[in-house]
């Protein structure tokens, strides 16, 4: 070899690296592949393998031990399963499935094994978090007291979500389920909440779109995407939510507040059904295995709010469920409804009639969030839910009779306007103070003079006006989180002045 070759940096590095390689033989527990079909490997040997253990299939491929039988073990292959042959030797790793996490994972897109798939290089690992873990116990928890602002008026006012809550988003296809979840992620900018978006069985094109949107709006700075798309194996789709949760728990351990979105758990259940059927586990209703309830309950039970002794962090979960033809009484929807602390119910009919977000306020509930709602919001939205319910009732009656008394008429007009203020673009989240100001105007009857279909335009101009003329008022409401008695006339005055200035929004007399 020539001297120049020896001293070249590449040659030097390689020698150093080869020296570092550890080749000491170790005693290993091994097995042989007996059969392989549909992503499921049947293995002999592997004595003492644990359920849920990672098994080395060679060439950086891994399997997950799921069925332990008398004389064989069934594994599901994670990742690619090319070139597996009968008779190949597989090895125990002794590792229960875990994912390597560090603070650097924010802003990145990873697969269900925690490996980067966004082409920005490998992720450093500071801690391995287990995918399966027992949910925090009763003694470590605290009730929900801090609100999680979604930025959507209809939700923050009537179906408030608290940090540590599990709120289901349920509805048919293309009713804006993902949009609500993404809007919530966008609204967490500057709120000290980290986000994990878990994409299960979605199209790669929509994942790319979501990623691009979050990047454009600067939301990737505090968000991690965990992706198992439709073209990934069922085993990866099955693991993705647990991977996302493990990442969330890494931040929870640091006492941080985390929001995790599972988009969507219907596909997750389907992936698990596929695995279970291939593993020949007995099937039950809709061919789902017997433990499909436990599949989701153990996932969602890990959402929590810890008390100060345990760091005081929280994990808020927003699972998404897709229904078929509004059927919420199907197997998986009823399961997840019963596990979660409330649901946001979206309807195709509302969506088609132009009500966006298409939230059915009557059927949507939040079981714990009202404890966390800010006082300002409670003040303006306290009666809103009842008003809207009354309005809907009247609306049904009004269809039958042509002449109504004035009171009913004005109630209907008011209801229409309140309803109209709930419309909002999903990517235009509003701050609490802004929401309070808009709802205040609607419920106090200050919108009665405004043409109904001009309300969105009115709202836009009104908020601009407030930011320009009354920044102190907005600031005060944000700080104190309530409307004081002397503020109320001020707000009224501001709205009246604005209405005076903008007569183009007024109802035209014919």
């Amino acid at each position: 070899m020539k001297k120049s070759q020896l001293s070249s940096p590449a040659a030097f590095d390689l020698t150093g690296l080869v020296d570092k390689v550890k080749v000491k033989p170790l005693m290993a527990s091994v097995g042989q592949i007996l059969a392989f079909a549909d992503g499921v490997v049947k293995v002999s040997g592997l004595d003492k393998v644990q359920a849920g253990e990672l098994v080395d299939l060679g060439e950086a491929r891994f399997g997950l031990a799921l069925n332990l039988e008398e004389d064989s073990v069934s594994l599901v292959v994670l990742g690619n399963n090319k070139d597996l042959k009968v008779g190949d030797t597989v090895k125990r790793t002794g590792r229960i499935l875990s994912v390597g996490v560090s603070d650097k994972i924010l802003g990145r897109t990873v697969d269900s094994l925690g490996l980067a798939i966004d082409g920005k290089g490998d992720l450093p690992v500071t801690k391995y978090m287990p995918l399966e873990k027992v949910a925090p116990g009763v003694m470590t928890r605290k009730s929900v007291t801090v609100p999680l602002q979604t930025g959507t008026k209809a939700i923050d006012a009537m179906i408030p979500i608290g940090r540590g809550q599990r709120e289901l988003i349920i509805g048919d296809r293309s009713t804006g389920k993902t949009a609500i979840a993404l809007g919530t992620i966008l609204n967490q900018a500057g709120q000290d909440v980290l986000c994990v978006y878990v994409c299960i069985g979605q199209k790669r094109s929509s994942l790319a779109q979501t990623k691009q949107l979050l990047e454009e709006r600067g939301a990737m700075a505090y968000t991690t995407i965990v992706a198992a798309t439709a073209s990934d194996s069922a085993s990866q789709q099955f693991l993705a939510p647990y991977t996302g949760l493990a990442i969330a728990e890494y931040f929870l351990d640091q006492g941080k507040d985390v929001l995790i979105v599972y988009d969507d758990l219907t596909k997750h259940a389907q992936a698990y059904r596929e695995i279970s059927l291939l593993l020949r586990r007995p099937s039950g209703r809709e061919a789902y295995p017997g433990d499909v309830f436990y599949l989701h309950s153990r996932l969602l039970e890990r959402a929590c709010r810890l008390n100060e002794d345990f760091g005081g962090g929280s994990i808020t979960a927003l699972p998404i469920i897709e229904t078929q033809a509004n059927d919420v009484s199907a197997y998986i929807p009823t399961n997840v409804i019963s596990i979660t602390d409330g649901q946001i119910y979206l309807e195709t009919d509302l969506f088609n009639s132009g009500m966006k977000p298409a939230i059915n306020v009557g059927l949507s509930v939040s079981r714990v969030g009202s404890a966390a709602q800010t006082k300002a919001m409670k003040q303006v939205a306290g009666t809103m839910k009842m008003d809207l319910a009354q309005f809907r009732e009247l609306q049904a009656f009004a269809q039958f009779s042509s002449d109504l008394d004035d009171r009913t008429k004005s109630q209907l007009e008011r209801g229409l306007r309140v309803n109209e203020t709930l419309k909002q673009g999903w990517d235009q989240p509003l701050s609490v103070a802004e929401q309070v100001m808009v709802i205040f105007a609607a419920v106090k009857g200050l919108l009665d003079e405004v043409e109904q279909d001009k309300i969105p335009a009115w709202e836009k101009a009104y908020l601009q006006y407030l930011h320009a003329t009354e920044p102190k008022l907005l600031e005060a409401i944000t700080q104190a989180q309530k409307i004081t008695e002397d503020q109320e006339p001020k707000i009224k005055k501001a709205i009246e002045t604005f209405n005076e200035m903008h007569q183009e929004f007024w109802i035209r007399e014919n």
Binding site: K20, V21, V23, M27, A28, S29, G45, D47, G58
Partner: protein
């Protein structure tokens, strides 16, 4: 009958067999029988298999380990 499968690249000499047998009786089971397998594919070294336990000190596996660890860097 307990059995230890010994895989090597070439036939072992009698002295080598006795040495291996002695070690196996110490390590695994004093009554284990030896089953000698010659597999040139392992290139060199030795591989012992006892039930589902395996000690792999073949050149083939060492090369694979080197390959894997270098790819990680």
């Amino acid at each position: 009958m307990e059995e230890v499968i010994v895989t090597t690249a070439r036939n072992l000499t009698k002295i080598e067999i006795v040495t291996v047998e002695k070690l196996i009786h110490q390590r695994f089971s004093p009554t284990a029988a030896l089953k000698l397998v010659v597999d040139p594919a392992v290139i060199g070294g030795i591989k012992l298999r006892f039930g589902s336990e395996e000690i792999d000190a073949t050149v083939l596996t060492k090369l694979a380990t080197v390959n894997q660890q270098l790819l990680k860097v």
